[in-house]
Symmetry: C2
C-alpha cells in the first residue's frame, strides 16, 4: 500500500451483502448430499476461464461426470463452447449483475441433472471485485490471473486474492512480451494469503496443467472420502 | 449471440439503479459552470488505464490543467503514479463497490481545486459490468479494451461497448502473441455501436496516441466553444 500525504482519500461505504451466507450454506449441504464438488472459477474478463475449463474438462471427463454453470451478463458464447468440450452446461443470465450469488447458484443447480454429476464448475462473471464478496456455496474458490494483467493486481483487488483457495497464473506463454515478474506476484500474493498455492499455467499450450489437475483431483478425492466417512 | 437449444437459460433480474441519473445531471451542470471536461475512463483490470493516463497527461499538460480522480476498491497505487506524471490527483475508495456513481464523483470533485482545472479524468474501478450502468456526470465515456482480453468481448459485455463514446484498443504491441483479429473486433463493436470510433494504441510504445490525443483535444475544444456561445 502506497502512502502519499499529498493525496486526498475519500471512503465511500456501501452495504451489498444480505442473507447470502445463509443461502450458501444451504447450497453446500445440497452438494454434500449429492456428492458433488463445486468449483467457483473467478477472474477478470479475458483471463482465460473458458479456455482453462475446456482443457480441464478434457483431462478429467473420463474420471468425473462434469457440469458447468456459465454466468454471464447476457450471452451464451461460453456455454456452447464447454458443451462442445463434453460437459453438461447451463447458462445463467445475471440481468446486469456483476456476480453470481448463492440464490442464483441454487437456481442453476435445480435445473441440472445433479444425480448424474460429480464435479461442477461455476464460471463466474468476469470481474475481480463483486464475485469475491459472494459465497455461492462452492467447495473451492479458484482464481485465474493472466500475465497481461500485471503482477500488481493483488494490491488493487486484495479481497479476491484473500478469499481464493488456489491461484492459476494463466497465459505464461505470453510472458516474453510483458513486464511480469512471477516472484513479485508471489510476494504480493503471500502478503495477503500465505497458504494459497500459485500455479503458473498456459491454457493454450497446456503448460503447468499437470499441477492444476493434480490439485483439483486431490481436492475432489478428499471431499468424497470425508463425505463417506 | 449464439443460440443453442440444448442450453438452459435462466434470467435473474436485479434492481441496481436509483436516483443516479438525476445526480449525474447535477455533476454535469457543475462541470459546465466551471468549464471542466470530465472523461470517464473504463476498462477491465490490467487493460492499461493508468499507463494510458500517464502518457495522455504528458501530451496535454502544457495545454490543459489536468486533474485525476482515481477510484479503487482499496489502494492508492495509481494516484501516486499520476501525481508523479504531473496531474492533481485524488483517490476515492469505493468501499467494496465495483463502480463509481454520480454521488461519489460529486464528492470527489468537491475536494478538488475545480477553479484551477480544465480537464479531469475519472479512472473508474477496473470492471466491464457495473461502471457501464452508472452515469457519473461525465462529458465523454472512453473505454479501453486490451488485445490480450480478446476480440469477442463485445459479445460478453455489450452494455459497456454500447454506452461508450470512444474505444481505445490498447497493447497493440502484443498482438503477435495473441489470436486477436482487429477486423472481427470492429465488426463486433459496429453491431452494438456503429458510430463509435475505434483507435488502436500502445500506451507502452505511444503508437496510435496521436489519433487519441487529437480526438480528445477536439472534444474539449468543442465543449468549451459550445459553452461560451
Amino acid at each position: 500500500m502506497v502512502n502519499n500525504s499529498d493525496i486526498t482519500v475519500i471512503e465511500v461505504k456501501e452495504n451489498i451483502l444480505a442473507d447470502n451466507d445463509k443461502e450458501a450454506e444451504k447450497v453446500r449441504a445440497m452438494l454434500k448430499e449429492h456428492g458433488i464438488f463445486l468449483v467457483n472459477l473467478m477472474s477478470s474478463p479475458g483471463a482465460g476461464k473458458t479456455t482453462t475449463l475446456v482443457r480441464t474438462i478434457g483431462a478429467l471427463k473420463e474420471k468425473y461426470r462434469i457440469g458447468v454453470i456459465e454466468a454471464d451478463v447476457d450471452s451464451d458464447v461460453d456455454a456452447s463452447t464447454v458443451t462442445a468440450a463434453g460437459a453438461e452446461a447451463i447458462q445463467i443470465h445475471t440481468g446486469g449483475s456483476c456476480h453470481m450469488d448463492a440464490e442464483m447458484t441454487a437456481k442453476g443447480l435445480e435445473s441440472m441433472n445433479t444425480d448424474a454429476l460429480d464435479l461442477i464448475f461455476l464460471e463466474n462473471v468476469g470481474n475481480l471485485v463483486c464475485p469475491a464478496e459472494f459465497d455461492v456455496g462452492q467447495n473451492a474458490r479458484v482464481m485465474i490471473l493472466s500475465v497481461p494483467e500485471g503482477d500488481d493486481k493483488p494490491l488493487k483487488y486484495p479481497l479476491m486474492f484473500k478469499v481464493s483457495d488456489l491461484l492459476l497464473v494463466n497465459k505464461t506463454d505470453t510472458a516474453p512480451v510483458f513486464d511480469f515478474d512471477m516472484d513479485r506476484l508471489r510476494a504480493n500474493v503471500a502478503a495477503l494469503n500465505p497458504d494459497m498455492p500459485v500455479i503458473p499455467v498456459s491454457a493454450k499450450s497446456g503448460d503447468g496443467f499437470g499441477d492444476w489437475i493434480r490439485w483439483l483431483d486431490e481436492a475432489v478425492t478428499k471431499y468424497r472420502a470425508d463425505r463417506t466417512e
